[in-house]
Symmetry: C2
Subunit: 349 residues, 2 copies
């Protein structure tokens, strides 16, 4: 730690600036000089002091990824995609967890970072449209979610509403008429966040198809983990509420629901069909495999990093840019009619 650039310079018989030039790939350096410098760096075990470099440069090269948690598979996969995209651009990703606490979301995007950050990718789960509008963003920011505002903030729009509607269409086209929605939020401002948008899509499709919505099938669950999907189904079964399909607002909820159905002896997909959202890795490996709405996570990550990078570099448009990701329902066993394979499975003990 005590070895400075000037130490390297002295040992190599050059000035500090030359060492700096070598480190930063400045082209016009004699090969022999470069070699001597690199040797000196190696023998002394020198590492640049990034704080000094950052101070001088006025940038840190750090972008903050503000997400609620990392154990939720969707956010884990998003994190890895964002990190990969950032790495190719020489950016470092700092994960900041909100743990689904609105005050943390607000504090962080308002500038309360533990380190200096050049930009922020923000996946809100608590802040609604109202809160977002009244926020003061302390750095270039890309918000992930449905469109919320124009202005100096870029937006990568997730097809929450359209995806949810397609999930319902998928279920209805396979005969479902009493479809449960698992993951509804009843928070203030929740209409603006993911849960609200997915519920909207759910209602949209019902309306468009002329299928009635049953209030007792709108299952409130603020946290979207397996346990909550499981509990929701348990409550439906205990109450004796009839249902023949479930649209779960993410895959974790859906897998929890699937588990509870199987344990309770409800055949899936024969009696109840289940669709999730996000198309995470685990959807393909559940039993039965889970039909899920793919919302273009990889594309979202790349677009978000690209937009942020552009804005950090000063090339961003003055007004916010809006990018919309594709979506698609990936059909699997949890919604497919029984066939030969299914029959085989039914014979299990």
């Amino acid at each position: 730690m005590a070895v400075r650039m000037s130490d390297v310079a002295q040992r190599a018989g050059v000035s500090a600036k030359t060492v700096s030039n070598v480190l930063n790939g400045y082209p016009h350096i004699r090969a022999e000089t470069r070699t001597r410098v690199l040797e000196a760096i190696d023998t002394l075990g020198y590492h640049v002091n990034v704080s000094a470099r950052n101070l001088r440069a006025g940038r840190t090269g750090i972008i903050s990824l503000v997400i609620p948690e990392v154990t939720e598979p969707y956010f884990g996969e998003l994190t890895e995609s964002v990190m990969a995209a950032a790495e190719t651009r020489g950016l470092t990703v700092l994960i900041e967890l909100t743990r689904h606490v609105m005050d943390r979301e607000i504090a962080i995007v308002s500038g309360n970072h533990p380190q200096g950050v050049d930009g922020v990718i923000f996946a809100p789960t608590m802040c609604g449209e109202q809160e977002l509008r009244s926020l003061t963003f302390s750095a270039p920011t890309v918000v992930l979610g449905e469109r919320m505002f124009s202005g100096p903030v870029d937006n990568v729009v997730m097809p929450n509403r359209a995806g949810a509607a397609d999930a319902v269409r998928h279920l209805v086209s396979r005969g479902c008429r009493r479809i449960g929605a698992v993951g509804v939020h009843r928070h203030r401002g929740a209409g603006a966040v993911t849960a609200g948008l997915r519920l909207q899509g759910f209602l949209d499709a019902h309306e468009a198809l002329g299928v009635p919505v049953h209030d007792e099938l709108l299952l409130t669950t603020h946290v979207w983990r397996r346990a909550n999907g499981s509990t929701a189904v348990r409550q439906l079964l205990d109450a004796g509420t009839p249902f023949d399909g479930l649209f779960c607002f993410n895959d974790s909820l859906a897998l929890g629901a699937l588990h509870e159905l199987v344990v309770s002896g409800v055949p899936v997909p024969e009696q109840v069909k289940v669709v999730g959202f996000d198309d995470t890795d685990e959807a393909a490996y559940s039993t039965p495999a889970l039909t899920s709405v793919s919302a273009g996570r990889e594309e979202i990550a790349q677009q978000a990093v690209a937009l942020l990078h552009r804005r950090i570099s000063g090339d961003g448009d003055t007004d916010g840019v809006e990018v919309v990701a594709d979506h698609q329902v990936i059909g699997r066993r949890s919604t497919e009619a029984v066939d030969a394979t299914a029959a085989g499975q039914d014979e299990l003990g």
Copy 2:
């Protein structure tokens, strides 16, 4: 960004040092002065320049968590535990992903960080004992894993070997005699890493109990995700190799294995019993629920951060400290004999 501490000072009618004192909680400041300073900070929208502070302080407050991936549930849960522990000590966690590439592991712990870090928590998956011994650690480091060396590096020891042995004892005591090991590595140096240690424990218990080990039941799988557990079982079944128990080297492998067994019509736990490792959240919600070895993840995270913090603060012992975590087999349906609940489940379609 253009607003500096001196701007705040000017507006508040004090010197920069006083502003600094207010920000750093220096106690002897007149209340009225503090208020004026805080007001000025607020109206100007001032944020400290962390690069400058870090440069001056000679520390960054960043600790690096070096892990292979974050989507693997064990590492996701570890990440959240480490972040929580770091936050209480005012440390920022920088996640650095190795993606299971040895060169990346080596480069990172040798000092190739994108930002200055005060210390490193390193969970190796590729580096064996040999590589670790020959590494030059560029910062205070805590290695997570079985004991590997003494010296200026602290060690949080995971009960890999003992935990694996207990898993096998659990299976044998329930009647298993042909137990498969899923997740074996055949890498150079692999004997020193997690896979090798869990295999050792597997062999230990067989030897201690006088149960023969069958080579064809040692299933090589370098990546420990569901798909690989699934594939391993598929291969066993296709080859017609008889087996009545599986010890999977982590929960993801076990859940993949479970999936493949169920899909293939092999009753669990009646015909084959399955044990995983790590006791992640998802183990409790699989169908059937998964028996797993709990290796004290939360405790490991807290100890690792505490050790690192102590060493960063200069209070560390000269020699490496070694902490051993507890372990325990958490019994669930995947290894329990059929009872009323199980019978009910068997009646499913």
